[in-house]
Amino acid sequence: MSFLRRLFVTGLSCVLVITVPNTPARLLAQQPAPVSAERLEKARKHMEEGQSLYAQKRYLEAAQAFQLAYTAQPFAAFLFNEAVCYEKAGELDRALSTFKRYLIAEPNPPDSDNLKKRIQNLEAQIQARHTPHPIPTSPPDESKPPEAMHSLLIFESNPPGAPAQIWQKVDPTAPAFSPDGGNQGWKMVSSGPTPLVATLVPGRYHVSVERWKAYNRSDDEVDVATGRIVQYRTNLSQGEFMGFLRVTTEQVEGARIFLDDPPPHQNKPWGVTPHGELIPRGKHRIWIEAPGYEPYTEEFTIETGQQKTLQATLERVGYGYLVIDGNASAIKISIDGEQVGIYHPDDGPVKSKVSKGTHKLRAEAEGKKPYEGEVEVPAGQSREIHVVLSNRPGRGVAWGAAVFSAATLGAGIYLGLQSNSILSEMRSDRKAGHLAPDDERIWQGKIYAISANAGFTASFLLAGVAAYGFLRDPTPPSFVGVGDPYEFADAPPAAKKHLRPVSSLRLTPLLSHQERALLLQGAF
C-alpha cells in the first residue's frame, strides 16, 4: 500500500516536532521563507549554545552565539535573544540597536508595546550615562528569574500554501480550542500560508489549517518550551468527496494523460504515466497519448473515497519511420518499388513513413551497385538505415571482349558458310562428274573451315573472357546497416549498427567522400 493511499485512508495529520531550549519570549510571526534543513540544524546548534551560555550568565558569549544562529537562519527571534543578552551584559547601545534591528525584521511583533517601552527605557539609560549628573539607574535585579528566551515555530503543510493560523493560550483556564470559534482565552499570534514561521514565547499553542482546496481542515495543539525551534509539519487529508485515480501504462512511461480534456486538448496534461491524483467523484474520461502509440481513451466513474487504477494498454501505431542515409550522393531510395526520396548528404537522411512489417528496400546511385533487400519496419518506431553502396566494377574489357567475340563469331559464321558453299559446289561438281582430286577449292575450303574454326574458338574464348568480365565482381556487394528501433520522440540510438548481408570474409576498403574505413564481412 502506497504512502498516498495510507494518507488518504487514515486521514492522519503527521506531525514532526523538533524542539530546542528556548529563552522567554513572545511569539513572533515570521514571513514564510525557505527553510534549509542544514541551515536550520546549524541555527539550532548555535541557539542551543546561546541558551546554555545565557543560563550561565555569560551574556556576551550568548549574544555572539545567537548572532551566529541568525547568520545561519535569519529568524527574527535570534535578534531578540541577542538583544536581551546585550541588555543583560550592560551593553545598552548594542542592545538598543539589536532591538531596533529586530523591529525591522519583525515590524509587527505581537509584543510590540512591551518592546517599545523596553527600547525607550534603554534610550533613557543611555541618555543618563552621557549627562554630567547621571541619573542613578538601578542595577540589574539578580533576584529576578532570567528573562525567557523566544522560541521558533516552523509550521509546514503538505501540500504547502495552505492557510495556517497559530493561536496562543493566553488564559490557562480557557477551554479547549474549538474550530467553530468563540475561543475565549485564546489569542491568534500568527497566520498566513504555510510554511509559516513564528517567534513565540513559551506556552501552549493551537495550530490550524483552514479547509483549503480539496483538503480537510487540520487542527492540533503544540507546547512550545523556552529557547526551542519547533518544526511542525502536517499532511493535509483530502476531503471525503474525492476519489483517487492512478493511471499506468504497461508499454511506455511518460505517456501524457488528459483528464476530461478531449482533443484538441486545451489544458496541460493532467500528468504523465505513471500518475496518481485525487479527482472529484463522478464520471470522467481520460485520453492517454504517447508518440508511436494509438491514442487511448476510456470513460470511467470514480466514487468518493475510491482508489481507482487504470492500467491502459496502448497499441502501437501501424506504421514506422525509416530514416535512411548513405555513403553516396543522390541515392535513389525506393520502398516496395516506389521512390520515396533521393538522399543527398547535405539534405540529411530521407525519412519515410512506412507501414509496419517487412518491406523491399532498393537504393541505387550512379556508378554504384544497387542494393535490394528487405527491411523490417517496427510498429510505432523509427529505424535508421545506413546504405553502403559499393562501386560498380568497370565493364570496358568485358564489352570489348564481347564485341570481338561477336565479330569473330560473325567472321567464323561467314567463313563457315563460305566453306560450306565451296563444299556444296564441290559436291555438285562431283555429282556432275567433274571434280578433280587436286581441285583448288579443297585448300580454299579447308582454309575457310580452319579459319571458321579459329573464329569460333576465338569467339568462344572471347565470350568466356566477356562472361568472366561481366560476372567477375571484385567489389563487395552493396549492403545496409540497420539500426535498432527507437521511439519517435527519441534521438537515434548510438548503438552499433548491424551490418548485413554477410556474404564472405573479406576486408574491403570503403572510400567515399563520407567514409573511410575498412569493412569486415564474413560468411560462415
Binding site: L409, G412, I413, Y414, L415, G416, L417, S419, N420, I422, L423, E425, M426, R427, D429, R430, K431, A432, G433, H434, L435, A436, P437, D438, D439, E440, R441, I442, G445, K446, Y448, A449, I450, A452, N453, F456
Partner: protein
C-alpha cells in the same frame, strides 16, 4: 531473327570438319595423269583413245614433244614412250587410234615431223602400242623425197616444219595429210602401197590441215582446207580419189574434222571457227560438181555453244576445238564430244569444258553432259579422247594448266564408285 541466327550458326558449325574436303575428293570423278618427264611441255595438248581398248595416248606440244601411251589394263597403269629416241621424236599429227598392229594391242599412229634442222630426225608415220611395241609405217618414195627436198630447201631455214600434220583412222584405214606437200595419203591394208591423193586444183595451201575418216560400210575421207572454208569428201576405199563432194561455208570451215559411224552409217563432224559443229551424213551430200553448203537433209545435227548462268564466253570459247565420239550412254548411238577450251565456267576464266551431245535432230541441243574444271587456264577441251578404263568408257581431256591429263570417269553411264 533469333531462329535465323541459330540456323546460320548451325549451318556454319559443320565447317569445323575440314577433312570433309579430303573425303570429297577420295575417288573423285576426275582422275589426273601426271606428265612423264620426257614430255617437255604442253602435256595433253593432243590425245587419242581407243574406245575398244584400255589405251590412251597423250602428246605434248606439237613439234616440241613426244608422247606417252598409257595402258590401263593393270593398276597402276603402265606407260610407254611413243618413240625410241625422244629427242628425235617431235609429234606433229594425230595421234589416232589404230587398233592392234605390229603384234601389239591398243596401238596409235601419229605423224612426226622435223625440227629446225631436221638432221637425224624422223619424218613420217610412226606407231606405238599400249603393250610397248613401236612400229614405222612406210611412206611412198615420192613423199619421202618431197619431205627431204622441202626440208633442205635453200632459204627456208628453221621456219620450215614439214611433216604429216593430220592423221586419221577408221578401222584399219589410216590417212595422213601434209599441207606442205598438198597431198593426203591413205593406207589401206588391202593394198601394198599407200595411195596418194593430191589436192584438187582449186584447193589452197590449207588443204590437208585437217582430215577425217569415217567408219561404216562406205567410209569416206574428209579433207579440210579451212582457210578456204572447204571440206572435200572422198571415197576412202578408192579407187578413184577424186572428190565425191565438196562442202563450203564462209569463213574458216573444217578447222577440225572428226569421222565416226552411227550404226554403220558414216558421220562427219565439222567445226568452224565461229563455234558451230555440223554433223553431216556424207552419203546424203550431193555430187561434187560444185562446192556448196551442206544441204539440210545431209545435216544430222548442228551443235552450238549455249551460254547459261554457269557457262559464259561462247564467243571466243573455241567451241569445237577438239572433237571425239563414243557411245557413252551405251544406247547404240555414239555421242559427239566437243571440246571448248576457251569457255569460262562458273566464273573461272578459260576453265574450258567438254560438251557431250546426243545426236537428235528433232530436239534443239540435247546436251548429254557438261564436264569442266574449276581451275583457271585449265583449258579443258584442248584435246579429247574416249577410251576404256576398268571396262568402262571414259573421257580424257586436257588439263593444260596443271600439265596433267584429266580422266572424266563419269562421262559414261556405267556405274562407278567415283560417280555418286
Amino acid at each position: 531473327m533469333r531462329c535465323h541466327l541459330a540456323l546460320v550458326v548451325l549451318t556454319a558449325l559443320p565447317s569445323c570438319l575440314w577433312n570433309r574436303f579430303d573425303e570429297e575428293v577420295v575417288n573423285a570423278p576426275i582422275e589426273l595423269l601426271d606428265r612423264p618427264a620426257w614430255i617437255l611441255g604442253g602435256y595433253s595438248s593432243v590425245m587419242a583413245g581407243d574406245p575398244e581398248r584400255d589405251a590412251l595416248m597423250v602428246g605434248g606440244h606439237p613439234l616440241l614433244s613426244s608422247g606417252v601411251i598409257f595402258s590401263f589394263s593393270k593398276t597402276p597403269p603402265t606407260l610407254h614412250p611413243a618413240c625410241d629416241n625422244q629427242a628425235r621424236c617431235r609429234l606433229l599429227g594425230g595421234p589416232v587410234a589404230a587398233g592392234d598392229r605390229a603384234g601389239g594391242t591398243g596401238c596409235f599412229v601419229y605423224g612426226v615431223g622435223a625440227g629446225p634442222t631436221g638432221v637425224g630426225e624422223e619424218i613420217g608415220l610412226l606407231g606405238g602400242c599400249a603393250t610397248g611395241e613401236l612400229f614405222k609405217l612406210p611412206l611412198p618414195t615420192k613423199v619421202r623425197t618431197l619431205f627431204v627436198e622441202k626440208l633442205f630447201q635453200p632459204g627456208a631455214g628453221a621456219a620450215i616444219f614439214p611433216g604429216l600434220l593430220s592423221v586419221a583412222s577408221a578401222g584399219r584405214l589410216l590417212a595422213a595429210g601434209s599441207p606442205d606437200l598438198s597431198l593426203v595419203m591413205i593406207l589401206d591394208p588391202s593394198k601394198d602401197l599407200p595411195s596418194e591423193i593430191p589436192a584438187p586444183l582449186e584447193a589452197d595451201g590449207s588443204f590437208a590441215q585437217s582430215i577425217a575418216l569415217t567408219g561404216g560400210q562406205d567410209p569416206v575421207l574428209a579433207v579440210g582446207a579451212p582457210s578456204q572454208g572447204r571440206v572435200y569428201i572422198f571415197d576412202a576405199r578408192g579407187p578413184d580419189y577424186t572428190p565425191r563432194a565438196c562442202l563450203r561455208r564462209p569463213g574458216a570451215y573444217g578447222v577440225v574434222l572428226h569421222g565416226f559411224s552411227d550404226r554403220g552409217k558414216p558421220r562427219l563432224a565439222i567445226s568452224d571457227a565461229s563455234g558451230i559443229v555440223d554433223v553431216v551424213d556424207p552419203n546424203k551430200l550431193p555430187l561434187a560438181e560444185s562446192c556448196t553448203e551442206a544441204p539440210k537433209e545431209a545435216i544430222v545435227d548442228t551443235l552450238r555453244c549455249v551460254e547459261d548462268d554457269k557457262v559464259t564466253g561462247c564467243d571466243g570459247g573455241a567451241f569445237g576445238y577438239a572433237l571425239a565420239s563414243a557411245d557413252l550412254d551405251d544406247d547404240g548411238t555414239p555421242e559427239v564430244i566437243v571440246g571448248a577450251p576457251g569457255l569460262n565456267v562458273r566464273g573461272v576464266s578459260n576453265a574450258g569444258a567438254l560438251a557431250i551431245f546426243r545426236l537428235d535432230p528433232t530436239t534443239d541441243q540435247p546436251r548429254y553432259l557438261f564436264l569442266s574444271s574449276s581451275s583457271a587456264e585449265e583449258r579443258v577441251g584442248s584435246a579429247v579422247a574416249a577410251f576404256r578404263k576398268d571396262g568402262r568408257l571414259v573421257v580424257a581431256s586436257s588439263a593444260l594448266d596443271k600439265q596433267k591429263t584429266a580422266i572424266f570417269h563419269c562421262a559414261g553411264s556405267s556405274p562407278s564408285a567415283r560417280c555418286n
